[in-house]
């Protein structure tokens, strides 16, 4: 049993509440990713699970047992640090086997298990080297090896890929997923990179200002964000938010554009319309209500076009493949109203009861 339960977990540091009451259950064998911006309390939360930080209030259970006052080594967990924290005076083999050496495991058994972990991570030929003689990716593997050799029930990762270059990061992501499949340990993985969260997680926990903003499966968070924070944090580029008012079935943007999104929101007044870049389409410029092209980012398979209008609103549009638009040219914009989200002034999602229809918003509202 390696289910992790966080029950109203809080952390105070010098009178400031950093973690403000977290209630989350991470199931046995699950790959959970805690994601959030810098300073949201995600690393503190992970360190509380590890036992490296005291829990100010609340209860932490691992495998059903309360772990609040249990020392880190008694929690049957392993942790991979952002900095790797490999002992620089020890060889790779000594680093990986250190935990077993401390437990006074038989030497032959240590050698066997170190070799097994090293082979799994393709480190077999580096066992006699010191960390200084390894590349960033190899050091990362050694850090993972040090964690898995203990055969822990829970493995904690604290932004483990943030020091690697982009190519290696992609490679390590797939390797971590493979390792998780092979080991079946419960994984809690902290990152600020939503791409890592989306690609690896079975459950994402979005933290914001010490609270859980939303938790769920990656695509559930992408499709059904509870609030503007999650809506903008999950997905690259972030969701566009446009200020406006709801009048009947229509959402009236500040520029006067009208989007027919249907009724049933049970709320009127100042609201925000959220729409993802892939649900916007460029149109030929109309006589009025056009957008000006700021920047075009061409990534080959797709392009992102940054636009702004006379009301100083800005949006990003995703276009398949290349896009032939000139900088500073005027374009029209079509919003796919069936993929629009409505948020209140506090950023909370308003749930729609009826289906919306697609409208052309480059036409000015009457």
């Amino acid at each position: 049993m390696s289910q992790i339960e966080l029950i109203d977990i809080k952390k105070n540091y010098l009178g400031t509440e950093i973690v403000k009451g977290i209630n989350v259950t991470i199931n046995e064998g699950e790959f959970a990713v805690i994601v959030g911006p810098s300073g949201c309390g995600k690393s503190t939360l992970l360190r509380m699970i590890a036992g490296l930080e005291d829990i100010s209030s609340g209860e932490l259970r691992i495998g059903g047992k309360v772990m609040n006052n249990v020392s880190p080594d008694q929690r049957e967990i392993a942790m991979v640090f952002q900095s790797y924290a490999l002992y620089p005076h020890m060889t790779v083999a000594e680093n990986i086997g250190f935990a077993l050496t401390l437990k006074k495991v038989d030497k032959a058994e240590i050698t066997r298990r170190v070799k097994e972990a090293a082979d799994m991570l393709e480190l077999g030929h580096l066992l006699d080297r010191k960390p200084a003689a390894l590349s960033g990716g190899q050091r990362q593997r050694v850090a993972i090896g040090r964690a898995i050799v203990k055969r822990p029930k829970v493995i904690l990762f604290d932004e483990p890929l943030s020091n690697l270059d982009a190519k290696l990061r992609v490679q390590m992501r797939t390797e971590l997923m493979r390792l998780h499949r092979e080991f079946g340990s419960t994984v809690v993985y902290v990152t600020h990179d939503q791409v890592e969260a989306m690609t690896m997680a079975q459950k994402i926990i979005v933290l914001h200002n010490g609270y859980v903003s939303q938790l769920g499966k990656p695509m559930d968070l992408y499709r059904e964000p509870d609030n503007t924070f999650v809506a903008q944090f999950i997905g690259v580029p972030k969701m566009n938010l446009l200020q406006g008012k709801l009048q009947g079935n229509n959402f009236i943007l500040q520029s006067g554009h009208k989007v027919t999104i249907g009724g049933g929101y049970g709320c009127i007044g100042s609201l925000q319309l959220g729409v993802r870049p892939e649900h916007l389409t460029l149109q030929p410029a109309a006589t009025q209500g056009n957008w000006c092209v700021d920047v075009v980012e061409r990534l080959g398979v797709e392009s992102f076009i940054h636009l702004h209008n006379s009301e100083h609103e800005s949006v990003v549009v995703r276009v398949e493949g290349d896009c032939e638009v000139a900088i500073n040219s005027e374009v029209g914009l079509k919003i796919d109203a069936s993929h629009c989200y409505l948020f209140d002034e506090q950023g909370k999602r308003l749930v729609q009861q009826l289906q919306a229809t697609e409208v052309d918003c480059s036409r000015q509202a009457s």
Binding site: A50, D73, I77, S83, A85, P88, L102, P131, A132
Partner: protein, 309 residues
């Protein structure tokens, strides 16, 4: 090298080359001038006709060294110095290790004031401290001698214990004074060293199941070795060269250290024996050189690559 780089501007190159040669020549002359006393000490120590002038010995003799060890109490002076300074260095390293680590890891408001207070002790000239320190040592001395007298009635035993543990005219007193004098700098060095060792290592060790002692033994000590070498070397060389404290706090000939032995040999009323004095100076210098050679191995040993900065 310069000629290759500046081949196009021939005049400039020649002028630069000449001025560089002049600069090196001047530096070599200054260096030689500074080295003359060292040459003299080494040459005179092996010269049967050693005098106050620098001269190449016609014969080589070990007579002066024999005299130091056989005719005088040279061996006792060396042993006294090694035991006192060695123990003081070890004690300094022990305290500096604990103190430096604590000061590095604590975030308390008093950390900075305390650090400056510690270094302030170092700034005060040692002669200015002699009277108050002597007072304190005198008080402690009376107490320890009282304890020794209570422990045994055997006078010989009392004398031996007193020589060991007395605060004045005893090994313990000198060791503690040397330790106190060297501790401020050592604590600063160790604190700075521990600052450079990321806390991640200790946390990783804790998760690996290491106890406090195992973390210190397997992780912190090996990582802080260059720091200990630096702090130890400074403490040893400073204490080894100290003359004032042994002069003030010892009086028995049995407790005489090397600098005191040398000083008293120099002050003898009969003719100055330069051979004897220089042999003593060579003996006095050797342990410091050995200490440096020993520490150098650790000083250059840096550990990197464990954490990604």
């Amino acid at each position: 090298m310069v000629a290759v780089v500046r081949a196009a501007a021939g005049d400039v190159t020649v002028r630069e080359y000449t001025s560089q040669r002049r600069a090196y020549l001047t530096l070599v002359l200054i260096s030689l001038f500074c080295l003359i006393p060292f040459f003299w000490v080494v040459l005179a120590a092996f010269d049967p006709r050693a005098s106050q002038f620098l001269q190449v010995p016609q014969d080589i003799t070990f007579e002066h060294f024999r005299k130091v060890f056989a005719d005088e109490s040279g061996m006792r002076w060396v042993l006294n110095s090694v035991v006192i300074v060695g123990s003081a260095t070890l004690l300094t390293l022990l305290f500096a290790g604990f103190g430096g680590y604590a000061l590095s890891r604590t975030q308390a408001w008093w950390k900075r004031p305390l650090l400056y207070a510690i270094i302030l002790v170092r700034i005060v000239p040692p002669p200015a401290l002699i009277v108050p320190v002597y007072k304190v040592m005198l008080f402690l001395n009376e107490w320890i001698n009282g304890v020794i007298n209570q422990l045994t009635d055997n006078v010989e035993m009392q004398q031996q214990l007193s020589r060991m543990f007395s605060f004045i005219d005893g090994y313990l007193g000198l060791i503690l004074i040397h330790c106190a004098m060297q501790l401020p700098l050592a604590i600063w060095i160790m604190k700075t060293f521990f600052d450079a060792i990321p806390k991640d290592y200790e946390e990783a060790a804790a998760l690996d199941g290491a106890s406090q002692w195992q973390t210190v033994r397997h992780v912190l000590l090996p990582l802080a070795l260059p720091g200990f070498a630096a702090a130890g070397l400074f403490a040893f060389i400073n204490a080894w060269g100290d003359f004032l404290m042994p002069l003030m706090f010892t009086s028995s000939p049995e407790l005489q250290t090397l600098p005191l032995g040398m000083f008293r040999a120099f002050l003898r009323v009969d003719a100055i024996d330069y051979g004897f004095l220089t042999a003593l100076a060579v003996i006095y210098t050797l342990p410091a050189v050995i200490a440096f050679a020993f520490a150098r191995k650790f000083l250059t040993q840096t550990f990197s690559g464990g954490v990604k900065g």
